[in-house]
């Protein structure tokens, strides 16, 4: 038995992006084409209407490895997971998977709102590939993990979004495959529950199982993964230990300003920009001056309980600090419109260096939009005696330590 869990050879996936968004045809269309060109191939779509979501990817993942897949939007992360989970077939290439696969591309797949929590546990478990007896054996553990014991015989349509997500994740967390494939599912639930989920993923990884997961959350990737795959535009841009890969990903996406592409119709971060103390755009801020971030976001529909948060990361993705609207008791209004927030960082907080900004919109139930990194910036030392030693100062923050220095009292020689 070899120690390779997943072997991928020249995997490629082509999607047609026809005239419209829909990729299926209508019968009328096809019949019409046949009538016009009875001896043609019946398909007149040009090659230009195709996109290679995944292009010639080859790699190997060893048993017991925990691999994070990172890359920007449209890099092919989800397509790779879909092929490895056998949800869709590749256009070219092949993959061999040795071991039972459990894939979790969404939390709560197949949950039915009319059924009770108990019924949904069994249904969802069966969909994820658990045997009925196995579910029955783990039932109590699942209910305890989800903290929904009191409502287990209530239809899940009456659940709060938090309860729903907890129950759904609890079922999935008790799946015990040899190879676990997970897509961005850690973005659900409140902070406490997310910690619990991360802990559970840690446990899974520690039992020697192979884990392959996609996340936009670099802190989660660094915490869980031992190695990382970096995808760019459908191609494999690099593989290796997780830290350098994350640094490369963050570095490769260094922009001075973030601007959203198309509107998603969901709560969305539209723009993020580095500004000085007066709100004017600034390119090279000094660490002695107050600087901050101007963030515009939109709520297309009225929605309450939205929170906005930022995180400042070092060049290699370590979180220096975070700040959320809920930390400072600022309530985001529920009205459907665009908002602008300014988050200011007082001078003399950070040391000089390269930093990334992450911006996140979320509510109690889920992460609505996360841009990591939204923008990147280099902080330079301002003219201050504090930084006279320059690059000799290590670390990232300027802690105002209390100092005294005086000749030490000597007991020797006292009368």
């Amino acid at each position: 038995m070899s120690d390779i869990a997943i072997r991928v050879e020249h995997l490629a996936k082509r999607y047609s992006i026809g005239a419209g968004v829909e990729s299926y045809r209508t019968l009328r269309e096809t019949l019409g084409q046949l009538a016009r060109a009875p001896f043609g191939r019946g398909r007149t779509r040009s090659a230009a209407a195709h996109i290679w979501a995944l292009d010639d990817v080859s790699m190997e993942i060893k048993k017991g490895e925990v691999v994070g897949i990172i890359g920007g939007n449209g890099a092919g992360k989800s397509t790779l997971l879909k092929i490895l989970s056998r949800i869709t077939t590749p256009t070219r290439g092949r993959a061999r998977i040795s071991g039972r696969v459990g894939s979790l591309l969404e939390v709560g797949t197949g949950f039915h709102p009319e059924l009770t929590g108990r019924e949904n546990i069994f249904l969802n478990g069966a969909i994820l590939g658990m045997a009925r007896r196995e579910i029955a054996r783990k039932f109590d553990a699942i209910v305890a993990f989800a903290e929904v014991a009191r409502f287990i015989d209530t239809a899940v349509k009456y659940y709060s979004s938090g309860m729903y997500v907890r129950l759904a994740f609890a079922v999935a967390a008790h799946l015990e495959p040899e190879i676990l494939i997970v897509d961005e599912v850690l973005s659900v639930g409140d902070a406490k529950f997310q910690q619990k989920c991360l802990g559970k993923m840690d446990d899974v990884a520690r039992t020697g199982r192979t884990v392959l997961f996609v996340s936009h959350n670099m802190a989660a990737v660094q915490r869980l993964a031992t190695s990382a795959l970096l995808l760019e535009g459908g191609c494999l841009a690099g593989t290796g230990p997780v830290r350098p890969m994350v640094a490369r990903y963050l570095g490769g996406h260094a922009h001075a300003r973030y601007q959203a592409g198309r509107r998603t119709g969901r709560p969305q971060i539209l723009e993020a920009q580095l500004v000085d103390a007066f709100g004017q755009p600034v390119a090279k801020p000094l660490n002695t001056e107050t600087f901050g971030f101007r963030i515009r976001f939109a709520l297309p529909q009225s929605r309450s309980g939205i929170r906005l948060g930022i995180g400042v990361l070092t060049g290699d993705g370590t979180v220096v600090f975070t700040s959320g609207s809920d930390d400072v008791a600022i309530e985001v209004p529920a009205d459907a419109r665009e908002y602008e927030a300014r988050v200011m960082v007082p001078g003399d907080t950070l040391l000089a260096g390269d930093y990334h900004l992450a911006v996140c919109l979320w509510d109690a139930g889920e992460t609505l939009d996360l841009q990591e990194p939204a923008l990147s910036f280099a902080l330079e030392y301002g003219p201050s005696v504090l930084y006279a030693s320059g690059d000799n100062r290590k670390g990232f923050v300027n802690v105002r330590c209390g100092w005294t220095l005086e000749p030490a009292l000597s007991l020797v020689g006292l009368p």
């Binding site: 299926y24 077939t89 015990e176």
Partner: protein
Amino acid sequence: MNVDVVAVRVPCLDAIVDIEPSSGLRPLNLRELWSYRELLYFLAWRDIKVRYKQTALGAAWAILQPLLTMSVFAIFLGRLAHVPSDGLPYPLFSFAGLVPWTYFSTAVATGAVSIVGSQQLISKVYFPRLLIPLSAAVTPLVDFAVAMLTLVAMLAWYRVMPGAALAWLPLLLLLAIATAFATALWLSTLTVLYRDVRYVVAFLMQFWMFATPVAYPASLVPAKWRVLYGLNPMAGVVEGFRWALVGGPAPGPIVAASAAVVVVLLVTGVVFFRRAEGTFADVI
């Protein structure tokens, strides 16, 4: 219960899975299908449970639907148009035909949209996709059982005693399930590929019912055309059901022709479905 019995059994028995482009003929993995039988049970159970929870009438609907159709047939076709009924009381005659037909039309109507309707599942989880139309073909069997009980009550009311032909009923039921499943395979795949097929299905079912001896006896069809008539697989199923339950002329040639057609429909349906299923998630 000893430890071995509790041991975890995961559906995907194959330790090694090869993922390749889906082209050409892909053999049916019966072993895998069998290992997923519990999921079939849960999918059917979900649909039954939800239906009976949502509809106020619940089980009563399974009785009312064929019963009301029968009343309409009995008044307009039996009483007014004097459609013959092989010497049986017309209500009993038409109800015996409506029970298998209602099963079939429900199975096909839900089966045709079953893949499109399971978009959520198909785009997020792997399991043999064949289970979805199969579940659509199996689920209406509950309503069928309820309707059969009504039919038994009607037999008692009209004092009709089924003969030895009743022994054929299980095989005929199997033929009905196979017909529904094969039709659902074809229509569900076509509905994914051509989204306007679903509008054709409603018309098709109406047309199909008139081509099936539900409201009239197959004996109305001239004898030399009977086998051709049997090419409609539901003609064999309905005629066979009626024969097994309430007697009448033995429909041998029709049933034989229907069974042959069903086998062809089923094999081609599975091949067609298997070719398309690899990319269901992309086009759905």
